[in-house]
Symmetry: C2
Subunit: 158 residues, 2 copies
Amino acid sequence: MARRNQRTYCLNRPDFMAAAIEQAQYAAARGEVPIGAVIAGNGSILSAAGNRTRELSDPTAHAEILAIRDACRQLGTERLTGYDLYVTLEPCAMCAGAISFARLRRLYFGAEDDKGGAVVNGTRFFSSPICHHAPEVYSGLRELETARMLKSFFKDRR
Amino acid sequence: MARRNQRTYCLNRPDFMAAAIEQAQYAAARGEVPIGAVIAGNGSILSAAGNRTRELSDPTAHAEILAIRDACRQLGTERLTGYDLYVTLEPCAMCAGAISFARLRRLYFGAEDDKGGAVVNGTRFFSSPICHHAPEVYSGLRELETARMLKSFFKDRR
């Protein structure tokens, strides 16, 4: 029997969100806005990232963008057909655009973002005529926990 | 007198668009959708990029995103306050979001994009309540030339 050197993840759907929350916690520990994202397919995690805009001096380094870029790099493709994205906060317009370009199958998110969200708030990008691929959207996963994490981060900084 | 080893650009505004068009032409030569972008400030070019989504297997590697990331990396900051972006095509929702996060001062673009543009078409991101910084927008620079470049690229591929 082959030795299992590689760490594998095999989780139920709610636990992918747990992994996204863990990424958000790491982001907070680095002094970044606590948002985390995971891309999963076939029952396992392909990529996971937290927000790194400050560390990288990169305004595009949102958790979703980093997770998408990493997943695409691993697969050598621009398209993540059949893969799902789990993210702790409703994606902004930039990330919603990237999710669409990446052809992600499903989007699961935690808290809604009435100030910057572009999925169920604001420009509702996936329902707009300029969106050419929309994922299935599932909102409100661990909603209270993900919202609380952000609130306490901003409260601590004030 | 110091020798001038460094190539410097000092151009009028219309010529920054010429530099963006040049980037679009390089993109076409690489087999990418011909879109180019330049970030300029204080009379000179800080960064320039063409679309590289295929080459990098990265759906976020639009000309605008690459130019913003490069400019931010050079300055060691997330914010390009006082800098302007020149791009050959109306930005999409993803790029409009990134332009806003980067706090770019002005956006100059060439052709309008009624299928995917999010500035004067579609979700008109900069006028939406989820946009917290909007650049001044100037559209239609070298409109015919930039539109023709895209049309002939897609015609050749059919």
